[in-house]
């Protein structure tokens, strides 16, 4: 570990903390449906969209209707993308003349992008035409992110409103977030990326004859516009197979730094927006503190392990940290930081290959996802996931010290706790269940590239990433098979919507409750004790659930690595 490395990590967190309030203020304006300066330009577009689709943005929806509209929109979007991918061969915008995708791959990819996962069973440059990238995939990058933020807004309203029947209007939330937050930011961001070297063209390939006279064909395309929303929307689906390790996606150390910032910035802002929505910004800062503590702990372990390097290679006379799967221009600190950021958020973009991390260095990204991606988390999904844990935490606090379980002015009762447990239980059930199934079935065992415990880690990582809607991979796993495409598709769907529906039910149930003013009997949810309790609950739940599986994978792998026992 170097001083420069730690400077990078601390500058990163410092800058995000400085951005939290400004971004939170902007989000809060959208949350309340207030006018922003951008309405002057984009207001007509917003109104036009409502008119054409017959929406009254002021018509409030109860949680059931909100959920129905959200689900139906996602199903239609998925069908649209499925059609675009299947028909790729006959559609325009395909200079490489790539064929349409197989049914299982198109199914997997459509779910993957709709659920904000962006798991990719394919290599972008060898599979997707420019049109598929833009029309089939980029729209999900925007809309799955906007959906996540909309859902977070709905839950915030549940906490903020009293004796109300409704949680907002889904269409208004999605349209406003897309038009007044994501799209304008992406336009500026795209220009920055192009200026830094990220291509933006309708051509698909460039042919060059290298200095030694060898023909090299470079894949290219409208990369920058895709890259911007891929990061900001915590989507993570790369234009190219190598994702943000590819020099055309992420050419410099500066673009890399900005990419990491853009994964987290909306998530940081949402914590502030939550605090403001419930009338006490300290509530937001308390949540953010717990998240940042968990995050820094993860960064420290991964950076330490990666900087220490691989003893197996040291034995051969190789010096220094672990550079397998990493790019020189980023170095070890920025690669470790990126890996922890992308898995703490549900982004899944990678600037280094997690499969080739040291065993414990790669375990942290895995564990981050197993905690439910609530350490900042995906845009929207992170905070609503975290609030489910907060509900459990006040419940546990109530059990321990006999206080009334209350959170930000709402009584937490049996219904909310049951629903929260239901949502949280999806994670272990799906991850461990499907990993176990794939570890015994022949079709499952055909997947891993690596042998031994690391092969098991590849399977475990895949289902963790899918259920957590992350999308990063221990990419040695060959996932483009009916078995994995199918099961991972189911896992992504369950990981997204089986959490969302109970979460919206909680929003509805909270909105209907009276506001309970804080009393001497309330457990204070702004101080250090609360932050510690949150961190503890998240670690204990995640640890108890997943440590056995980690012991079989990364921990066994680590012991093999330090003993030089190869597999």
């Amino acid at each position: 570990m170097t001083l420069q490395g730690w400077f990078l990590i601390l500058a990163f967190i410092g800058l995000l903390l400085a951005l939290t309030k400004p971004v939170g203020l902007w989000l809060h304006a959208l949350y309340e449906g207030r006018r922003t300066p951008l309405h002057r330009v984009l207001g007509p577009v917003e109104r036009g969209f409502y008119r054409l689709s017959g929406i009254d943005p002021a018509a409030e929806q109860g949680w059931r209707r909100y959920a129905l509209h959200m689900l139906l929109f996602n199903v239609v979007l998925m069908a649209f993308t499925y059609a675009v991918l299947r028909l790729q061969g006959v559609l325009p915008g395909n200079p490489q003349r790539l064929a349409g995708l197989s049914p299982h791959l198109a199914f997997n990819t459509a779910i993957s992008f709709a659920t904000n996962t962006n798991w990719q069973s394919y290599g972008g440059e060898s599979t997707m035409s420019n049109l598929s990238q833009m029309l089939g995939l980029a729209i999900h990058n925007f809309l799955s992110a906007a959906t996540g933020i909309a859902l977070a807004f709905a839950l915030f309203r549940g906490f903020a409103r009293a004796e109300a029947k409704t949680v907002g209007n889904f269409w208004a939330d999605v349209t406003r977030v897309t038009l007044y937050l994501l799209l304008p930011l992406c336009i500026v961001y795209t220009l920055f990326l192009i200026a830094s070297g990220v291509p933006q063209t309708l051509a698909a390939t460039i042919e060059v004859d290298t200095l030694e006279g060898i023909r090299q064909v470079l894949a290219t395309g409208p990369v920058a516009s895709q890259e911007a929303i891929k990061m900001l929307g915590t989507n993570g689906g790369g234009f190219f197979n190598a994702n943000s390790a590819h020099p055309f996606e992420n050419p410099t150390a500066l673009t890399n730094f900005v990419q990491m910032l853009s994964i987290f910035v909306v998530g940081f802002g949402l914590t502030w927006c939550f605090g403001r929505a419930v009338g006490n910004t300290r509530q937001g800062w308390a949540i953010l503190s717990a998240m940042v503590i968990l995050f820094l702990a993860g960064v420290t372990v991964t950076y330490w392990q990666e900087a220490a390097g691989n003893p197996v290679l040291h034995h051969l006379g190789v010096a220094g940290g672990n550079m397998e799967g990493k790019e020189v221009r980023f170095g070890i600190a920025a690669s470790s930081l990126f890996a922890v950021v992308t898995t703490a958020a549900s982004c899944g973009a990678v600037n280094a290959m997690h499969d080739s991390f040291t065993a414990l260095g790669g375990m942290i990204p895995l564990f981050n996802m197993q905690l439910g991606e609530v350490v900042i988390g995906g845009v929207g999904a992170g905070i609503y996931g975290f609030l489910l844990f907060a509900i459990l935490a006040v419940f546990v606090a109530g059990l321990m010290v006999g206080r009334t379980p209350e959170y930000v002015g709402k009584k937490i009762e049996a219904r909310e706790v049951k629903l929260a447990v239901l949502a949280i239980a999806v994670l272990p059930l799906m991850i461990l269940g499907l990993t176990a199934l794939s570890s015994v079935a022949a079709q499952g065992l055909a997947g891993p590239l690596n042998k031994g415990p690391h092969g098991f880690s590849e399977i475990l990582y895949a289902f963790t990433s899918a259920v957590g809607n992350n999308g990063s991979a221990f990419a040695g796993l060959t996932a483009s098979t009916p078995w994995y495409d199918g099961l991972l598709g189911v896992a992504m769907w369950a990981g997204r919507f089986f959490v969302i529906v109970p979460m919206l039910a909680i929003a509805g149930s909270l909105a209907a409750k009276k506001h309970t003013p804080e009393s001497a009997g309330s457990f204070p949810t702004t101080g250090g004790l609360w932050v510690g309790l949150l961190v503890g609950i998240i670690l204990i739940l995640g640890g108890l659930t997943f440590l056995p599986s980690l012991a079989l994978g990364p921990i066994a792998d680590h012991l093999a690595m330090i003993r030089g026992q190869l597999s």
Binding site: A138, A245, L254, V318
Partner: protein, 195 residues
């Protein structure tokens, strides 16, 4: 619920079409137009040409070098090496036999070239993209004696060139772009074309 369903279907379909047009077509196409107008060099892949005007590569994408007289880029898992249509890392785990089987011959080859001390890690490991354009200064310097020998020039000149080509930034680590370094080497050799 049936009525709710049909009332939700229209916005779902119409919004899909509208957003597809806005986000899937208008946005990327407009950005392509603006990008091509403002930053044509970068938007088209940061290509560079030699003195004769032939395009020899992208400034920011790595390419393979085999000759002793050039600095060599890192091992690559992209296709058969530096394949711009198949970016990839090796995805080998840290304790994989296959990793050792790949690294060991590379270490032996570098030893044979005369690198005596510890081998810089990036010199014998595959990058994430398989298209890494850079080397660490240590990995470049380790090759400097071989390059100097092959070119019959003083080692100090090569070393000075490496130092000159080393870049650093606030958010990254020191690195040398191999294509730029090799072009600088070629222009050292009294302007004679090097192919």
């Amino acid at each position: 619920m049936g009525k709710d369903f049909t009332s939700a279907l229209r916005p779902a379909i119409v919004m899909t079409i509208l957003f597809a047009a806005l986000l899937g077509l208008a946005y990327p196409l407009a950005m392509t137009g603006i990008g091509q107008a403002l930053f044509p060099h970068q938007a088209n892949g940061s290509l560079i040409a030699d003195a004769q005007g032939r395009v020899i590569g992208s400034e920011i994408v790595g390419q393979a070098f085999a000759a002793d007289r050039y600095f060599q880029t890192r091992p690559s898992a992209a296709g058969k090496g530096y394949d711009g249509l198949a970016s990839s890392g090796s995805n080998l785990g840290p304790a994989a036999q296959a990793l050792v089987d790949r690294v060991k011959p590379d270490v032996d080859r570098r030893r044979h070239e005369g690198i005596a001390g510890p081998i810089p890690a990036d010199l014998v490991t595959a990058s994430g993209s398989g298209l890494d354009p850079d080397l660490s200064p240590a990995a470049a310097l380790a090759q400097a004696p071989r390059v100097a020998r092959a070119r019959g020039i003083a080692w100090e000149r090569v070393r000075a060139l490496v130092a000159e080509q080393t870049e650093d930034s606030l958010f990254g680590v020191p690195h040398v772009n191999v294509l730029a370094l090799n072009r600088a080497l070629d222009s050292l050799a009294s302007g004679s074309p090097s192919r």
